[in-house]
Each structure stands twice: as C-alpha cells, then as structure tokens.
C-alpha cells in the first residue's frame, strides 16, 4: 500500500514536471517564430506593420544613445505603416552580450543586435542562426564599406555582420596640467613619454588614468600600444604567441606605467579611471571617442588629442593606432522574406552617409562606413572630436586592442594577471606565459 502511494506521488510529480518542461520547450529545435523575440510581428502578406526589435546598450542618456534613437525614430517615421523598429536597451554591455548568447542558444535570436567581433570567438557566427547579408549586399551598399572590413566579417562565405563601429584609441591629455608641469607638447617617443610622466609626478600631478577591473580597458590599451611599438602591428595576428619577448617587454613597460597612476587604479573600473581624467585628477588617458561625450564643454579647450609615442626604431610609423574591435550589427534568421528585407532596409538606412554623420557628430562614434565631413560639419563636431577625427584619419597602420583578440577564458583572466604583475606576484615573463596558456 505504502509503495503504491509513493509510486503514485512520484508519477504525479513527474507528470507535473513533464507538463512544465513541455511548456518551456515548445519551440526548441524549431525555427524561431516571429513572436519569439518579443516583437509583435503581424502577417506580412497582408501588408501590416513589420515590427523588429533591436537590442543595444546605447541608452538615450548618452551621446551615442541619442544618435541611435534619433535615427531609429527617423526610420520609423519614414516607414510608418510598413516597418517599426523598437529599441530594447540594456546599458550593461557584458550582460547584454550574455543575453544575446542565451537567446541564440534558446532559438530566440534577437532581430537585430550589436556585439564585439572577436576572430577567436566565432560562436555566434557558427551557431547557424544569424542572417546572411551577402545576398543583399548590392554594389551601392558594398561601396559604403571598406573591402577589408567586409572580408574580416565574412565567415565561411557568409556575411553575418554589418561593419559599423571601429574606433581608434588615442591619447587624451590635459594641456593645462601639462603646462603646469612645464611640458609644451605631447611626447613622440616612449622615452620622452616616461620623462613627461616624471615631470608631471614631480609637479604633484598624477600622470595617467589606468584601471584593472572588468576588461582592464585603459591598461590593455597601454599594453597594446607598448606591444605594437615593440613588435609591430602584426604582433597579435593569428598564430603569434603572446609570450614573445616583445610581449614580455611590453609587460615590463606596463608595470612601469602603473607607477604613474592613481592609487585606486588597481581594482578600479572604467568609470573610476575616466572620471579621474574628466575632473582633472590625471593628465592623460588612453581611450576611444566615446569619452568626449563625458568631458564637460568648458574643459574642451584644455583637451589635446595625440597619437601614440613610438620607440623611434621604425617598427611602427608614428601615428599608428590601436583600435577597438569591430562592433558590427547582426540579425537573427527570419521566418519570412519580408522580415529579412525589412532588416536589410533598416541596416542600409543605419549605414547610410546621412546616418553615419549623425552617429559621428551627435554620437561621437567613429564608424567603419565611409563618410566625408565638410568644414562646417567638422566645426560642428567641436574641437575635441575634430582633433580626434583628424588624427585618427591620419593613421596608416592599426591593430585591435589585445583584449578584443583574446579567447573568453584569457579575457576573463587578464585583469587578475595585470594586477598580479603590478603587485609583483608575477614577473613579466610569467605574465606573458600565463596569458598565452589561458588563450590556448
């Protein structure tokens, strides 16, 4: 009797579980329905509105967010009654990336989303759930991009990402603080750079903002610049070891640089580091154009933009740049041709010259798309962005920041490795060796 009741109980629980599990996995393994992404797509054949959801981290309280909202609103107005793009904003970039991955894994790939392209992590492209734009890439649209960018983003013959943002990382410096320390111009060699750091320090000014939390962005910018200056812009190319003598030397320089930063750089995040520069606590920072939006306008005349120093040995030309990786747009495979075409129409609008200008001038974003700014538009950009665009455009060689190349496991490890290097827990040789091992 007892056994029978237990059997009934277990069977009931299992039945309950199966019902719940069945509800949760109804769409598993099937092509995603238009409703799965949360967008209320109606029957396109009847000519009703096609609704698309676009995932992004660009919140409207930022310059880039304002630009994105402006463009989406304009597109929606121009296509009223036909296509409607709805923005789904999550300002937390890492969690947004994780959400996108989870949605792809769950067969609910977002209609449109952006991500950091990493040639060592092609899991999104290899999922087979992204829309291939190559059939839609006509000559007119192709001409908006550089062939190199299109080739980079073409994986196994499929163009599943549209080139968009690819910003150069440059040196910002505070001219007033430089003047206080008796420095007239930004150094052109690394020896001069460290002399400048000494001069600033001697004048009671903290030379540079650095950070080690999250992706250690400002620190890895410096590391990438040191590495490229020593080993050329091909130092991170596929197959190149990360424990090369040049990387070891770059790690030594990075450690030296930490002697010239704020006490909270170790463990500090992007906000801490960039705020130090913005409020005038530090004289330099190595960052992308998005920082401009955070600099108060009354501080703009004090801000100088410069290219990286070199070792003057010809390994890299003066003016070379470390860049952020491509942050392209991608889209999920769609259940109907109409929805695919709606996405393509929107992406063409996003990458048009007019939209590119809005993104650059309003959003302070440097794009992969081709664009020519008039003198009037350059003046409209303001002195800091104007300098930025000019120096960035003079770059003849570039490489992507190391952290964007690393495999996720190495990327997760690099903050603690840099902290260990600075705290003497690892020698520069051990730092490079561990980085190489983590990247295998």
């Amino acid at each position: 009797m007892k056994i029978r009741w237990m059997a009934v109980a277990v069977a009931s629980v299992l039945a309950f579980c199966l019902v719940l599990a069945g509800c949760g996995s109804r769409d598993a393994g099937e092509t995603r329905s238009p409703d799965a992404s949360g967008s209320e797509s109606k029957n396109e054949s009847t000519g009703e509105v096609i609704e698309l959801t676009m995932l992004s981290s660009w919140s409207p309280d930022t310059d880039r967010g304002r630009a994105l909202h402006t463009i989406v609103d304009k597109f929606n107005q121009e296509n009223a009654g036909k296509i409607k793009v709805t923005l789904d904003i999550n300002p937390d970039w890492p969690s947004l990336q994780e959400k996108v991955k989870t949605m792809i894994a769950a067969n609910q790939t977002p209609d449109i989303f952006n991500y950091n392209f990493n040639p060592n992590d092609l899991s999104r492209q290899q999922s087979g759930k992204l829309l291939d734009f190559s059939p839609y890439m006509d000559d007119e649209w192709r001409a908006r991009f550089s062939e190199q960018d299109l080739q980079t983003l073409t994986i196994n013959g499929e163009l599943t990402s549209i080139p968009f943002e690819k910003a150069g990382i440059l040196f910002y410096y505070n001219k007033d603080l430089f003047a206080q320390a008796g420095i007239r111009e930004f150094p052109k060699t690394w020896d001069e750079f460290f002399e400048v750091c000494e001069q600033l320090k001697a004048s009671g000014i903290t030379p540079i903002s650095l950070m080690t939390s999250d992706d250690a962005w400002h620190a890895t910018n410096a590391l990438s610049y040191f590495a490229a200056s020593l080993g050329g812009t091909g130092i991170f190319d596929p197959g190149q070891p990360l424990d090369s003598p040049e990387m070891v030397q770059a790690a030594k320089y990075l450690k030296k640089l930490f002697a010239y930063t704020t006490p909270d750089a170790l463990g500090g995040n992007y906000a801490v580091s960039s705020n130090h520069f913005i409020v005038g606590n530090t004289a330099m920072i190595i960052d992308g154009p998005w920082l401009i939006g955070s600099i108060p306008k009354d501080m703009w005349p004090s801000i100088g933009i410069a290219a990286s120093p070199t070792f003057g040995d010809g390994k890299v030309p003066y003016g070379f740049t470390v860049t952020d990786t491509h942050t392209p747009w991608a889209a999920g495979k769609q259940p109907s041709k109409e929805r695919e075409e709606a996405i393509v129409q929107f992406m063409k609008y996003m990458t048009s010259e007019e939209s590119s200008k809005i993104f650059t001038l309003v959003g302070n974003i440097l794009l992969s798309t081709k664009m020519e700014l008039t003198d009037e538009e350059m003046a409209q950009a303001g002195p800091v962005l104007g300098q930025y665009i000019k120096i960035n455009s003079q770059s003849t060689e570039s490489l992507v920041n190391l952290v964007r190349y690393l495999k996720p496991a190495a990327s997760a490890k690099i903050p603690s490795l840099i902290e260990g290097l600075v705290l003497d827990e690892y020698t520069p040789e051990e730092f490079a060796k561990q980085l190489q091992e983590a990247n295998q």
């Binding site: 309950f16 899991s123 999922s127 170790l266 463990g267 603690s416």
Partner: protein
C-alpha cells in the same frame, strides 16, 4: 490523516521542489562533466573540469577565501550579534531605538551597502583613511580594497558589522527564558556577567545553532560585496566561490567549469553543515 491526504498535501510543495530544485541540481551535475561555451553543442569531458579546478590557483584562492568568510560568519558575526542581544536584553535606556537602528541595514539593499563601504574604505576619498590622517596616523592608511593583504577582509567588514538579523534571532530566543531563573540568580548574588554566562547563553544554544547555520549558508553564497567592492581582486586575492562561478560562466563562457565549481560548492556546503551540526551536538552533550 490518511496517506492519501498526506500525499495530496505534500504534492504541490513536492512538485515545485522537484521542478525548481531537484531537476536544476541534476542539470548542474550533468553540465559539470560537459564542455560548453554558451552556444553550440555540449562535449562530454568526464572529470576534466574538476581536475582543472583542483589545479587552478584562482579556484584554490576562492576556496580559501570562502572558508575565511565562513569563519568570519561563525567567529565574528555570530558572537557580535549575541553580544548586542545580551546588552539589549537588559533593556537599557533607548533599547528599542537601538534594536531598530541595528536591524536597519538588513532592510537596505546589499548593493547599496557595498557601494557605501566602497567609499568608506576608498584609498583617497575614504572615511577610514581620512579619519586616520586627521588623527595623525598617516602610517596606518592603506589601499584597503586594492591591497591583496586586506582586500578580502575589507569585503567582510559590512557583513561582520551588520548583525541586526542575528541579534533579533537571539533576542527572540532570549524572550522565552523564564524571568524566575534570573530572580533566583539575583537571590544567589550572581553578577550580570555570571547571569549571561550561566543562564542566558546556555539557554539560547538553539538560536546559536540557527544563526551559525544561516550565517554559514550566507557566507557560502556571498556575492555582492566581493563583486562590487573589489571585483575579486586585486589579483584574485578577494575572489570567493560564488564570484569564481559567475566569472567562469559570464566572462570566460566556460559553463562546464562553472557548474563543476557549483557542484564542489554544494559539497562544501553539505560538509560545512555537517561540521556545524556535529559541533553543536558536541556542545549539547558537554552541556
């Protein structure tokens, strides 16, 4: 109550426990022996994830730090809660006000408290260093959150100090003690300390057990303070098991290793609970 009624009453709770606890645990066990980066298919790797964990210095550091957290919960947080409860149990002037004040942090978000303490312990803006400087103790100032020697302990400070919940559990248990015991002790001329030591503390051993178990469980899953105050750094010096699992899953996309770490954490939790129960039983026998 018939067996049929018993099963019917238990069915809803049993069902939800199965769906939302047993099945996820089975899934974690399954994932612990797989390799998966969040997309694509799983790959069976046997015990490789566990071997990796045993060899990973970051995991070992996280394990040691989690033990520090548990020890802080048992040896610092719980006794401090007991001490405060003993003081408030004597109902000094304004005791109700103090009881509310001490409990208040328990209704404030841990995230807010973590940020508050981030700024209290900040190297240049922080209250602690500025107080030390104003007291002429400049030599004692340090980067509490950025120094590997102090980071993990700096993370523990808010947890150790905010003892409101622990204190309330003790006070509740103390309120059940018969006043006659204290009256008899007064007649015998016992001091306040003797009354606490020989009457109150032995009679709140159930509350001690509850608090030790709660605090051990809380320390095992502690996440917000290490994440928000130090991010597990510098150089993993303040990493704990929860943060290690989060980092492996979210940043490194190594779900299998994260799940294997989760399995070990569950085992450690079970062992910690068994040890706590064992010690409490020993205390009971000696008493």
């Amino acid at each position: 109550m018939t067996r049929r009624q018993l099963v019917m009453y238990l069915f809803p709770a049993l069902s939800f426990t199965a769906v939302f606890f047993i099945f996820p645990i089975i899934f974690v066990l399954y994932m612990g022996v797989q390799e998966w980066n969040g997309l694509g298919s799983f790959r069976f790797v046997g015990l490789d994830n566990f071997y990796y964990l045993l060899e990973d210095p970051a995991f070992r550091k996280a394990l040691v730090n989690t033990v520090y957290w548990i020890l802080a919960g048992i040896l610092l947080h719980t006794p401090l809660g007991l001490l405060l409860a003993l003081i408030l149990f004597k109902k000094p002037k304004g005791w109700k006000w103090f009881r509310t004040l001490f409990f208040l942090p328990n209704v404030i978000s841990t995230t807010a408290l973590a940020f508050l303490w981030y700024f209290v312990l900040h190297v240049s803006l922080g209250l602690v260093n500025n107080l030390l400087k104003s007291a002429g103790l400049d030599s004692l100032t340090r980067a509490w959150l950025s120094d590997p020697a102090t980071a993990v302990f700096a993370n523990m400070v808010p947890f150790v100090l905010y003892v409101g919940f622990t204190m309330v559990v003790f006070l509740t248990e103390m309120s059940t003690i018969s006043p006659e015991l204290y009256e008899a002790a007064d007649i015998d001329g016992a001091s306040d300390v003797q009354k606490d030591w020989f009457i109150t503390i032995p009679l709140v051993k159930n509350a001690v057990a509850i608090n030790v178990i709660f605090n051990t469980a809380f320390c095992l899953r502690m996440f917000e303070y290490p994440l928000l105050m130090t991010g597990g750094g510098p150089a993993n010096s303040s990493l704990n098991l929860s943060l290690y699992m989060y980092r492996e899953m979210i940043t490194a996309n190594r779900y299998g290793i994260s799940m294997a770490a989760g399995i070990l954490t569950i085992l450690i939790g079970i062992l910690a609970m068994l040890a706590v129960f064992g010690l409490l039983r020993l205390w009971e026998r000696r008493a």
